[in-house]
């Protein structure tokens, strides 16, 4: 599934005044590609994700999924929230079935498919465990399966690894990138971590500070087919890192 973000602008009204979060944002996400959006904090990344998830509607412009404007939350788009947000009071099995339950699609067929996902990604043995009994990496995989349970064509990842320590983060992002590619999903990752973006993506969109505008779009053609871990060792990685760093124009 491909997505076009077409001249999207968004201004919020708050009691304190107007906040212009996004201005004329334009880029596209090709079918089965992995696109990262990087930008400084407060660049409207979260707003953009909310719009993509159909939770908010832009003041101007529109977002199209396979040519159709997004009007509200849809099963075609799966969301992976910040931290894993697994429900502590549910077992792993009941966590991954949350989506089907809410959508009224908790059929035997659906459960079979989820069961296969759990065993494919080494979580089936933990189906009756509580989330707190799992490691950070396993929790993350569980969160991904919960999102995949509704078989969305597009995955939105909202800094899902930000709470993990560095080593786990490297391992988990490699793992998640592999699963997403394997399943042929289109993915949009929001992150402030440049290395993470370069290691996982086919395309990187750099947003400026508020109001968020597209500062640059990088197609990572020369890194295609290289695994996230190996990418980190290539010269292209360094070059790109420095380039994006400058584009972000971080002032401390």
């Amino acid at each position: 599934m491909h997505i076009e973000i077409d001249h999207v602008s968004m201004t919020y009204q708050t009691p304190e005044g107007e906040v212009e979060a996004l201005r004329d944002v334009c880029f596209s996400v090709p079918d089965q590609s992995f696109v990262s959006i990087v930008g400084p904090s407060g660049c409207g990344k979260s707003t953009l994700l909310s719009i993509l998830a159909g939770l908010e509607h832009p003041n101007n412009g529109e977002v199209r999924l396979d040519g159709q404007p997004i009007r509200g939350p849809t099963e075609k788009i799966g969301f992976m929230p910040q931290r894993d947000q697994l429900f502590e009071w549910r077992s792993i099995w009941r966590n991954v079935l949350l989506g089907p339950e809410v959508r009224g699609d908790n059929t035997e067929e659906r459960r079979d498919m989820v069961r296969t996902l759990l065993s494919d990604y080494a979580l089936y043995a933990f189906r009756d465990s509580a989330p707190s009994q799992l490691s950070g990496g396993m929790r993350q995989r569980c969160a991904l399966i919960r999102t995949l349970a509704l078989e969305p064509g597009v995955l939105l990842l909202d800094e899902p690894f930000s709470a993990l320590d560095y080593q786990t983060r490297l391992a988990v992002s490699t793992d998640i990138a592999r699963i997403i590619k394997q399943k042929g999903k289109t993915a949009i990752l929001v992150t402030h971590d440049i290395s993470e973006a370069i290691s996982m993506s086919d395309r990187i969109v750099v947003l400026s500070h508020r109001p968020g505008t597209v500062r640059a779009v990088h197609d990572l053609t020369e890194l295609q087919g290289i695994s996230p871990m190996e990418r980190r060792g290539t010269p292209a990685f360094q070059t790109l890192f420095n380039q994006i760093w400058e584009e972000l124009d971080v002032n401390v």
Partner: protein
């Protein structure tokens, strides 16, 4: 873990802990027995006036009498009944109203100042009003009990509902969850701790409501026995009733804790 696996240091540590627990238990019992013995002794030696402060032996004799006449179970039963009904109605209606406030932002914004005032108001002041409106009977006592527990239930539960992680709420939205689904699958289960804390507090508050109510109106119950006893200067009866009250309150508190443990094991 097998016995052999324990290191000497571990064994010594466990031994020390066990001894400390035993010591604490012995001191607790000694304190109670010592207090009762001193009370009894002081009464018999004439250091204190048993007519005013009673004595353990007289309290036990009074309890035995109450038991024989059937009054003990009657009064205890009346108070427990009122407490259970008042507690249940107060807690349930409090939770329902809190759900309503969570559901409607307008309702919560409009009602907030009223709830704060009603919560701050000493509910005992409402007693005479209930008596005039509902009559001098069990209904007024139950109304009193509800008044004492319902507002704090609403405020606590509502605060708990509002404290649910915004990211989790957003996630439910992306799944296309309705407000009812969000309530059932996220907001209520996320507040199990708040619920049990509220229930524990309400058990105590309900007893306060019942005893206050019985002071004002009743013809039966532990509160009635206490007031009656003090009016006829039968301090043995007053002390015996207070003792019964303490036992009943503890029992009910333990029941709630067992219910909580059972609930947590099942889920």
């Amino acid at each position: 873990m097998s016995e052999q696996a324990l290191s000497p240091a571990r064994k010594a540590y466990l031994q020390r802990r066990k001894q400390e627990n035993i010591r604490v238990h012995i001191l607790r019992v000694t304190l109670l027995v010592g207090f009762l013995a001193l009370w009894e002794l002081a009464g018999r030696r004439g250091w204190i006036d048993v007519f005013i402060v009673s004595s353990p032996a007289r309290v036990i004799r009074t309890l035995a009498n109450l038991w024989q006449t059937g009054d003990l179970l009657h009064h205890l039963g009346v108070s427990c009944y009122e407490t259970v009904i008042g507690f249940t109605l107060g807690t349930l209606s409090g939770i329902l109203i809190a759900v309503g406030l969570w559901w409607s932002r307008t309702a919560s914004r409009v009602l907030e100042p009223y709830l704060v005032v009603l919560n701050a108001l000493p509910k005992t002041a409402l007693g005479p009003i209930f008596i005039v409106w509902i009559g001098a009977g069990t209904e007024s006592i139950i109304a009193m009990t509800i008044a004492i527990s319902v507002f704090v239930t609403i405020l606590n539960m509502y605060a708990g509902f509002c404290g649910v992680d915004a990211e989790k709420l957003r996630f439910m939205q992306t799944l296309g969850a309705t407000r009812g689904q969000t309530l059932r699958k996220l907001v209520l289960p996320a507040n199990t701790d708040t619920l049990f804390n509220t229930i524990r507090v309400n058990v105590g508050l309900s007893w306060v409501g019942v005893i206050m109510g019985e002071f004002l109106v009743s013809k039966a119950g532990l509160g009635y026995l206490i007031v009656y006893g003090s009016q006829v200067f039968n301090m043995d009866l007053v002390m015996a009733s207070v003792l019964l009250l303490a036992c009943a309150a503890i029992l009910m508190y333990q029941l709630v804790q067992s219910a909580e443990r059972l609930w947590r094991r099942l889920t």
